[in-house]
């Protein structure tokens, strides 16, 4: 066997490691320092779970934590339903309508979030709507719907477009054909659309800040609020970040395992 150590090979790998290091170093640093009780990052004061204790005792943070997930899950459910139906509708539209709808559907994705947020605020004010949970929900649905459409669309395109007609032909009503034939085919896309919506909604600040009732705190508005008031990061937020990273990691693992199982199923 010939062993050939090439410089290009080494540089390529080196580059990847550097890249990964730059990406993950801040997160790892934060996680590491969530297990010690110091004010300033850099001073290691021995291993301690103190920050976690304060975190879970902090009613304000816990409320924000709960609110964030409440908004994320409920807006994701609404967007997934509406977005999936929308994607199916667009897919079965006539050529011209389809092209127009796809174009329009992409604008919010490209558009600056601040524009969406401002327009929503103006719209609510214009109609004299009080800012409350519903306005916040609407804001997040508007934010995430295009992404659901975008993740369902490729699944529809992979699907044999005739299976819907085949179901009708065999006696299924349109609703039944959609439920028992089309939906199972595009489920992976629907699922990833849902996950995408949850994550987008979780860390959203701009739309949340504009469309919420001011008493309603999510994690992003809370963090922004405390940092802008005190100027420094409260140490317990380090623990909070770790928890969120952990949750993201768990979701990622579930999604990956899920799709791998699907693939190996197909191969048998």
């Amino acid at each position: 066997m010939k062993k050939n150590f090439s410089l290009t090979d080494f540089l390529c790998k080196f580059y990847v490691y550097i890249l990964l290091f730059v990406m993950y170093a801040p997160i790892l640093l934060l996680i590491a320092f969530s297990f010690t009780n110091t004010k300033i990052i850099g001073n290691w004061d021995g291993f301690s779970m103190h920050l976690y204790r304060t975190l879970f005792r902090d009613k304000e943070i816990m409320q924000a934590f709960y609110n964030t997930f409440l908004v994320a899950i409920s807006s994701a459910v609404v967007s997934t339903i509406l977005g999936t139906l929308g994607a199916i509708g667009i897919f079965y539209s006539k050529k011209r309508t389809k092209a127009i709808m796809e174009g329009i559907g992409n604008i919010p994705v490209m558009n600056a979030e601040i524009v969406t947020a401002l327009s929503l605020t103006i719209l609510f004010v214009f109609f004299g709507v009080q800012f409350n949970f519903i306005t916040l929900l609407v804001g997040h649905v508007v934010l995430t719907i295009p992404f659901v459409v975008l993740s369902v669309r490729p699944k529809l395109m992979q699907m044999d477009p005739n299976i819907y007609e085949a179901a009708l032909d065999l006696g299924a009503t349109p609703a039944k054909a959609l439920r028992s034939i089309v939906l199972p085919e595009i489920m992976p896309g629907v699922f990833s659309g849902f996950i995408l919506s949850v994550t987008l909604s979780l860390d959203d600040y701009i739309i949340t800040a504009f469309t919420r009732d001011t008493a309603f705190q999510t994690l992003s508005t809370y963090v922004y609020g405390v940092t802008s008031k005190k100027g420094t990061l409260p140490p317990s937020l380090r623990a909070l970040t770790t928890v969120i990273t952990l949750i993201a990691l768990v979701i990622l693992i579930i999604v990956n395992v899920n799709s791998k199982e699907k693939k190996s199923d197909e191969k048998i």
């Binding site: 044999d160 005739n162 299976i163 085949a166 032909d169």
Partner: protein, 495 residues
């Protein structure tokens, strides 16, 4: 006893805005018949099938199933089932569930009450359907593990298990390889006999249509060209299109000389049809109706320029003057030699000539004195509208008596001869561009139909070869566009 008509289409048409996919389609199908819609792609055959299935609603006409109009019923309320071109099996279900899908939704009458089928009933029917398509042990196989041919059988089983009154098949063998297709053709034919269900089959493969059908419906541009048994369609084509589409044929332009004589390729032949004397006609001759003579005298002579061995017979091309004649014969003749030949009188099929010029009825004149055909302005000789006239400096037509005419927006009929249109390989350099949609070989030249993006057709004769779907440019000399005013020239006189 009169045979029962199961489905009747009455003047059915399907328009999409300005264009139409199917126009004035009328057909009666008898119970148990095997009917095939045959035609090139885009001829409306699939659209017609989809209207019977209920996926498209006709914009005009009636579809009568057992005498009742079903034209506006949704597909799930029609007792017809479809076998799709790409099978359209449900990938997330196994074979059994695919076939049982329709049965599980079905309701039957039982003692005056409607009920779903029981598990046992469904099981029995599914097993039976699998037996019919010869895939008995495949019930719990995954769809993705089946070959194309097996998927096709499952698709057929899924449709026939519902015992439809009519089975619709949309090019069901299109995705299979040649050998498999031949086998499936025989099986379909056998299945049709055994089940007694009416089959309506769509294909662009003329051989498939002739092999399978009791009745063939040849379509072109959304219109029926001919309906008949495979023998009728082959032996007595209605027009040059049908003759060209079904089987090999020689097609020529000729003149009917009267007294059962017709002249083409510079010879006069006996024939069995009668036409008005001196009428221009199209002539179709099947290659097997020409007999090459070895030594004796014949009606005409031609030189063999090509000889191809085809297994059972040879295929020859004879040059008769400037015309090619395709002949098949089991005997071997020499290339380069000249032979006499005969054409059987009843092998000469004479048809009314379809087209002698392009006529555009809704042309008009624009401000620059051009004639607008299909949204495209063509330079033309506008002085031809008034005899003895000329153009003045301002572009008005001045008659011999000094009257000025302004023909802007005047409606005219424009006529362009088939040989007056010049065809250009570069589609950008002509006055108008279009796609070649049909090519018919007429012995010494081709007759091309070129369709513009605005859906207007230009028919022209050329000796050069082109391919279907080629994009080409067209040029017409101003003096070759014949104009005729609708109405009187007086209306356009300037005061």
């Amino acid at each position: 006893m009169k045979e029962k008509v199961i489905i009747e289409l009455k003047n059915v048409s399907k328009h999409f805005g300005q264009t139409y996919a199917v126009e004035d389609f009328s057909l009666r199908v008898k119970k148990g018949e095997f009917v095939t819609f045959l035609g090139p792609s885009g001829c409306g055959k699939t659209t017609t099938l989809r209207m019977i299935a209920g996926f498209e609603l006709p914009t005009g006409g009636e579809i009568l199933l057992n005498g009742e109009d079903i034209a506006q019923l949704p597909p799930y309320e029609r007792p017809v089932n479809t076998v799709f071109q790409k099978y359209a099996l449900f990938p997330h279900m196994d074979v059994y569930d695919n076939i049982a899908f329709g049965l599980k939704l079905k309701k039957i009458e039982d003692g005056g009450k409607m009920r779903h089928l029981t598990k046992e009933e469904i099981d029995k029917k599914v097993k039976n359907a699998l037996k019919i398509v010869d895939l008995e042990d495949y019930d719990y196989r995954d769809i993705s593990t089946l070959s194309g041919g097996q998927q096709q059988r499952i698709a057929i089983a899924r449709a026939i298990v519902n015992e439809p009154e009519i089975l619709l098949l949309d090019e069901p063998l299109g995705a299979l390889d040649l050998k498999m297709r031949k086998d499936m053709q025989l099986e379909l034919k056998a299945m049709h006999k055994k089940l007694g269900i009416t089959f309506i089959y769509v294909t662009h493969d003329q051989e498939e249509a002739l092999t399978l059908s009791d009745t063939v419906v040849v379509m072109k541009d959304g219109m029926i060209q001919q309906v008949g048994s495979p023998e009728d369609i082959y032996n007595e084509p209605n027009n040059a299109f049908v003759a060209n589409f079904i089987g090999e044929s020689n097609i020529y332009s000729g003149t009917y000389k009267g007294d059962m004589k017709v002249r083409f390729i510079n010879h006069t032949f006996d024939c069995v049809d009668e036409f008005p004397k001196n009428e221009k006609v199209d002539i179709v001759i099947r290659p097997e109706d020409v007999h090459i003579k070895e030594n004796e005298e014949g009606m005409a002579k031609g030189k063999i320029v090509s000889k191809i061995f085809k297994g059972i017979h040879y295929e020859y091309i004879l040059m008769v003057g400037r015309n090619e004649l395709v002949v098949v014969d089991t005997r071997s003749f020499d290339v380069g030699k000249t032979y006499m030949f005969d054409i059987e009188p009843d092998g000469i099929h004479i048809m009314k000539k379809e087209l002698t010029a392009n006529i555009y009825n809704d042309a008009y004149i624009d401000k620059q004195n051009r004639v607008v055909i299909s949204e495209t302005p063509f330079p033309c000789d506008i002085t031809a509208l008034v005899q003895g006239s000329s153009l003045d400096d301002e572009g008005y037509v001045v008659g011999p008596d000094g009257t000025k005419y302004d023909f802007t927006d005047a409606d005219v009929v424009a006529t362009i001869g088939l040989d007056a249109i010049e065809i250009l390989d570069d589609d950008e350099s002509g006055i108008v561009r279009g796609e070649i949609v049909s090519i018919i070989y007429k012995g010494d030249h081709y007759q091309l139909t070129i369709r513009t993006p605005e859906d207007e057709d230009f028919v022209l004769d050329t000796e050069y070869t082109y391919d279907e779907n080629d994009l080409v440019g067209l040029n017409v000399k101003p003096e070759d566009i014949k104009l005729k005013l609708k109405g009187e020239a007086k209306q356009y006189a300037k005061k």
